[in-house]
Amino acid sequence: MSLLAFVLRLACWVLLAPLLPGIINKVKAWVAGRRGPPVLQLYYDLARLARKQVVMSTLASPAFIVGPAVAWVAVLSAMMMVPLGPLGASLSFRGDMILVLYLLALARFAITWAAMETGSAFEGMGAAREVSYAVLAEAAMIAAMLTLSVQSGSVSLATMLTPTVGTSAVLLAAGLFTVLLAENCRVPFDDPNTHLELTMIHEVMVLDHSGPPLAAVLHGASMKLMLFAVLLTQAVLPMGTYSPFGAAAVLLAGVLVVIVGVGLIESLLARFAFRRVPLLLTTSVLLCVFALLVAWQGAA
């Protein structure tokens, strides 16, 4: 039974994740009045990439291949610790939230390392941008996690993600949503569609990847998006108060709302100028810090 549940959860994460970018693209196409790519486009892309050869720069060491693989595994292991509504988490222990944060950081490290392996100045620039934004985004994420653990008096994700609704939940929702946009390189921080500008961040890092490593990068990115959407939904809504089926439905609806929100923001907002990005990220840090203070006030 437990093995079945384990496989079910894993399948849920791995198989459903590529659906989310498809939904975002569909929403964007719908707002723009186009038909847009099919919702399953990323699955087709992954299948195509998996059959392709890997082209490697003569400068690159094996880390060029290992990086995306490490990142993919790190994100997947982080996901195993994030509870999935009534299905629960595959792994749960005291302090697992810290490991989740570090695994996400490890994934970022692996991707930026692989990006710099190509020896291209362009990719090094993207890597520098990615990590400099991450400084602020991670601070916000840590503040959000602290808020949740102060609220629930626990450091395990399974019990942390069942808070009550309050002022801090609103602040936390706004802060975590901004972190989601920044961490997943969506508008207004980065434009996932551009491939020609000097301003792109994530796309520039994976520009020279090809074949199965690129598939791992793309799939890992979609899993990370799903992880943040699930985390945001469960951090804000009082998941513990619903029946199992209700919780599953609420989780699904919440993730869908988050994803459609990302799509709408992407079609209604332009990417911010570079100088403005730290301001927005600072705002998200402050939102999470204020949520933490409100939670503290409530706990004291």
């Binding site: 002022t167 301001l279 600072t282 705002t283 402050l286 810090v289 204020f290 203070l293």
Partner: protein
């Protein structure tokens, strides 16, 4: 009391919005919204609704939410300026200063010997935070219009403090302050226009240089 705290919390959030936005229209909008929130507050504080309280509340909301922002927008249009380019204190530092100020205001207000009925209220922290925000905007911005917005937020802080004494100060005083404020902004609107004509810019740094 909870509703009042929510409104004050929103007003404190608007302080940070005003500190973080570089476009003048959004600073003016944040200030206007804060004025409307402040106008509504006396209605929540007074349990038996008096027509005089209602009239002052309405006058505050209209004055701070419509008339003053309208005057500022007109001055802005006349001067052809849209945004703050190079503030003395950058946007991220001023945002951090504002956030620190807000946290410090909450911490300080806890230490103050307040009346028991004001102990759980955010009135005092909100007032202190708004005053600090007003100071940061007054000191840190270069354009005259954002300095005026800083002055308005500063005044909002004083108004919040005044709400503590709402049962003992006559509302006439508040109404008088509001009138003064409106006239003041009206005059500043004209001055902004004159500065623009004389110096071709609203940069207050240029006002220190003498010119024939």
């Amino acid at each position: 009391m909870l509703d009042l705290n929510l409104l004050i919390g929103l007003a404190m959030g608007l302080n940070l919005v005003a500190l973080g936005s570089s476009r003048l229209p959004s600073i003016i909008r944040a200030t206007a919204l804060q004025g409307v929130l402040l106008g509504v507050m006396p209605l929540l504080l007074e349990h038996d609704l008096d027509w005089r309280v209602a009239a002052v509340a309405l006058a505050t909301a209209i004055g701070k939410g419509v008339v003053i922002p309208g005057l500022l927008r007109r001055a802005m249009r006349a001067a052809h300026i849209e945004r703050e380019i190079e503030p003395y204190i950058g946007f991220v530092p001023s945002l951090l200063l504002g956030a620190l100020g807000t946290i410090a205001a909450v911490a300080v207000a806890r230490q103050l010997p307040l009346l028991p009925e004001h102990a759980r209220s955010l009135l005092v922290p909100g007032a202190l935070a708004s005053i600090l925000t007003g100071f940061v905007l007054l000191i840190g911005r270069v354009k005259a219009i954002s300095q005026v917005c800083g002055y308005l937020i500063f005044e909002n802080g004083i108004y919040l403090f005044g709400l503590l004494l709402i049962s003992s100060t006559p509302l006439l005083v508040e109404a008088g302050v509001l009138l003064d404020l409106t006239v003041g902004i009206f005059v500043i609107g004209i001055i902004v226009d004159r500065i623009q004509r004389a110096f071709d810019s609203l940069d207050t740094r240029k006002l220190t240089a003498l010119r024939e």
